[in-house]
Assembly symmetry: D2
Homo-oligomer: 379 residues x 4
């Protein structure tokens, strides 16, 4: 129960030792207001809850709606210097209309029409792209054009110049993930414009980055001791991710236990020079849930955004439950339990698994010694 | 220039490639709204500025005003379970009336009357106390009562039970610093009640923690390999801090250069098991500026709170400038340059230096590879 | 110049302050001897030279001689419990007949005939296998049989059970590298016998380890946070190593500089959970020197063993120079400069590059802050 | 049982699969010898024992004998450039007459007469001094003269220039500890001469190093982020060490358990910028065993050297047992159990505790993942 005295909100609780409203208290609270002060005892319930309470809400966005709007934007909104990117961001319904999927994470669909180019810039925000469908766009990082194709994960550590161009005759859309809300909160953001146009339009199948770094367990000696601030591997291709998930489930079928739980395989994207998370602020993973399997409810501190890469199923986050299929995105707020069922949708003859791409802010909470996770069994 | 179409704020800029307002665009923006989406191009200026722009404002609170209100609260507001602490927090004028000194940091005056006790609890937030005047309160951490006296810095890493009691016959006030705003933002907060009353009222001069750990460069072998999540040293006494600052200025007078700049000595409080910052989220330092000296304007990513411990002078933060003396607090928002002049106030016959306690959120930004600092010379 | 008084070797130098031989000095030295003492001034020249002086000598072993003796041992020496392995080790001519390739490193040819098995054991020594020719043997690590084929690098971190079996009808030989001399020196060695015979003779093309870990930049989530003491990736296949070296030289031909020096590509084998060296004590690399190219003389603290994997050339180590071709091994002692020329041997119609496998003790010296390296340009 | 064929030592065991001596085997072994090869099966028993077997032997040196010889050396052996130091090293009886206390560690008594100076030099070996009695010598590190007094521990990280001078009118002796045997083994040693004579003879009570760093938990901000290769704190004074040990035993008497075991307190010397061991290769500790107490037998991988600082008692290492009193040194080889009894010697009216200084090579084995320790209870 809350009351207001002198414009100041006061928690009126049954707990002992709370001040009784009085004229003197009113005068005191006016003094607080005047001197830009707020008493802890009026705020402690919200600031120091027994367990994390997220302002973000569980929510699902369907790919069909998202894509339709992105295509319309492709017709109406030019892409170029100033607006920089034709990106349309998820705005969590709990976060006041800001383009924040969660308090820390940005997730947007970006759309680039045939022949278009998004101009070069760099920013301290960490970013990645993930491709749920289509191909034909190259992201140019420095002087390295990196092809984008279905299933690929393309990290982009902060403060590297990058542009995107679409040399083909079909549009392409993909997902951008960034730590924009976190960086905005942390007030550590720097931004620079780069070249307005990349002259070199070479569009190789394989980037220089991959030619140097996409060999399992191998580093170029000339770069092995370099600063590890920036991920040198710019593309994690679907063929590798798929093979890794397939192997985990095959091994499980042979009695080995390298999955998270029965029927639930997952891989994490690594920074090859540290063996840790691919970006300082963002953890990224691909999960595969065998058709018919169900994951145990699990919660953790910090938030994540998920996108269905393939298959269909039902997802439960806290008290919400949705059916999901390819391209759909959903958000898991801090400390909300998540469970997933892999099952055919009514109009789905696919017999395969449910593949889910996921990214989270776990590296932040791990570094601050604030990461906790639990399943129901842990409690 | 900003305009609003269909309830959505749109940045209208002179930059190329911005969409021209039209019926179709209006329909598109309505679609965005309906689907909980926000276009990047309408927000990029605020989200991705060329350099950090803080919502927080530079501000100073005078100790006299703060202490007077705290004393009144001592008369009117009981301390006990529920409200937990008689703490009154700085509310930065740029942060919407929340009890946040900066976007990440909490700073409050806490007041405990003669014979009073603040009940035991624990929380994942990291905390410390700093004593600008007075003595007579013991902070009990687990079963270790730690005396609090002028000049002492007392860290309190997250998730340790602690209470405060005042066995004497005079009230005492001090400063609490925590990462409450950060933890609130990060949504990683856990909280537990402890004992309502600490039966053991022993009040030793020296805590067990100091007897074990306050020996320069020495660790108990039985604890040396223990987990380093929690600082084992619970009090950094003024006599040591003062001696360290004195030595830096004496060595400078002998021609050695161990100060930050001429006339400006500073020490950082260390976690003795890592050699790094005393708390995962908070850096704490004591600075001494020789009477007559002036510090070069310096700015860094992230925010800090400063308190004058002794002496007087003028402080400039961004476009603001204040006179300050003992106990006054001020806030330096992210990327705002700070400079300090140590000089006698008009009513001050003290010939000594200006001593400033400071805490900041630097460890967060260092861990996320987002820390930058510069003086004018660096530019 | 050295003299001996009373059985104690004395350095007689022209330096000032050396003691003049006398009866009293003789008595003093006898006292030292009796009390098990040695004066520094008699030893400092050898113990504290201006730069590292290795007891090891540069030396080359030819593969033809080594293989011929291993094949004879295959006829004469059974393999089994007690002797454990039919391994024949390089004995550096400077190291007193001990089976030590360098003061820290062991290198041996191991030979396993058709149908033979080397029994399971484990030891704290870190090990690897490298295959210069042939195939057909499986190394079983725990319950994971790992195929061995030409060009493969197979690390084996300490204290894991392992056996080898040859299920085919042809013998196979390969190189074992270990830190046996280091561990012998450090006196930290533990050893356990395992099963006398591995019942499960499954011999898959791909090990479980690779199915889980040999995907570039990917880790199984279920294992990602596991202890990093042991490398989880048990085979680094030649196809990947070859592709990585090829890419570096192709990029060089396009004007990129990711090689160590012109015509000299190299990759390092990484521990996928740390991004660092593959074993705590051993660094392993594959180098490729383009036909016609020559590497600049380079020296470093610590020693290494090299094996020619393909091609031919000339190698200069300190004052020694040899022609080398496939399978030949040579040793580079601490601080001895090495340079390599890639050129056709007289009886060699091969037009390809010189491929060199290398392992060294660099991780030890890096961890102790004792690693230095330089080329002539650095001096 | 060992036999020799063709000059090669062969282990003759009852284990299966050992080769039967024959003419062909003899020829094979001659081939090995000729090609500088050694078979594993002839050496495995010594190279790969079930648990560490040290070449070093437990041994005790008495301070009286050591000091008497040092004093004689003071009369007979000048100190100066060339010999560099009047240091007399412990030569472990198991290590072939070399001046090695253990395979990794050097321990020597150094003696400097009134007015003498040991000339400046630097070396990559890590060093320290420990003072069991006397005072009056200053170690000059760079331009910082550091006084040496009973009970002080003075670390000296590699590659810093240092000299010693005795400005007083009495001689002084102390213990030098270094990693000379390790560095000699590792072949990573560099050495430079410095100034022949330090002109500045200032001899302050407190070094600059201590004035900057000997404040518990405090670092100069101007140096806090500096490279951590070199310990910045050059003296750990006895008053602090004594106070820390006293506190542990007092707390134990109050029912707290911060000692290693009942009656056995210990502190470790820390590198203040890392919180870890004071030197990259050397761990240093001071132990105090209450009169009447006895330590449980404990063994660890790696070796250590101990010196009695005060009190008396009996020491058991492996099968050896000695009475010890002030200044006596003894060596504990790898994996040999050590236990200590604190008791009055027959001619000792002292009722105090047994204080023991100790240094070991543990940091090396920890970094290489080869450190193990156990008490009898662990087995």
């Amino acid at each position: 129960m809350t009351d207001t005295i002198g414009g100041v909100r006061i928690e009126m609780t049954d707990a002992p030792d709370q001040p009784a409203p009085s004229e003197q208290l009113l005068a005191l609270y006016r003094g607080f207001e005047q001197e830009l002060l707020v008493p802890l005892w009026a705020e402690i319930g919200e600031l120091m809850p027994a367990a994390p309470v997220s302002r973000a809400l569980p929510h699902r966005w369907t790919w069909s709606a998202l894509y339709a709007l992105a295509r319309q934007a492709g017709d109406l909104v030019p892409v170029g210097r100033g607006g920089e990117r034709r990106a349309i961001a998820l705005a969590n319904p709990g976060l006041g209309g800001r383009p924040f999927a969660t308090p820390t994470l940005w997730a947007a669909i970006q759309y680039l029409g045939a022949g278009e180019e998004a101009p070069e810039h760099r920013h301290t925000q960490n970013a990645f792209r993930f491709v749920v469908e289509g191909e034909g766009v190259w992201t140019v990082v420095g002087d390295d054009p990196v092809a984008m194709r279905r299933g690929d994960f393309l990290p982009q550590a902060g403060w590297n110049f990058h542009a995107h161009f679409n040399p083909g005759d079909a549009p392409m859309a993909w997902i951008d993930g960034l730590d924009i809300p976190y960086a905005h909160y942390a007030e550590t953001t720097f931004f620079d414009f780069g070249r307005d146009r990349i002259e070199d339009r070479s569009a190789p199948e394989t980037s220089k980055s991959e030619r140097l770094w996409a060999h399992p367990g191998l580093a170029p000696v000339a770069a092995a001791d370099a600063s590890v601030g920036t991920t040198p591997l710019l593309a994690y291709r679907w063929e590798h991710t798929d093979a890794a998930l397939t192997a985990q489930l095959e091994l499980e079928a042979q009695g080995e236990t390298h999955t998270i739980e029965p029927g639930h395989a997952a891989v994490r994207f690594l920074h090859p020079q540290t063996g840790g998370d691919v970006l300082p602020t963002i953890r990224a993973e691909m999960h595969r849930v065998r058709r018919g399997a169900q994951t145990a409810p699990r919660r953790e501190t910090g938030s994540s955004v998920w996108q269905v890469f393939d298959g269909s199923g039902r997802v439960r986050v806290g008290d919400e439950e949705w059916s999901v299929s390819r391209g759909d995105l959903f958000v898991v707020p801090s400390w909300q339990p998540l469970s997933v069922v892999s099952e055919a949708s009514t109009d789905d003859s696919d017999s395969g698994a449910l593949d889910l791409f996921r990214f989270s802010d776990a590296p932040i909470h791990l570094a601050m010694h604030q990461f906790r996770s639990e399943t129901e069994d842990d409690r």
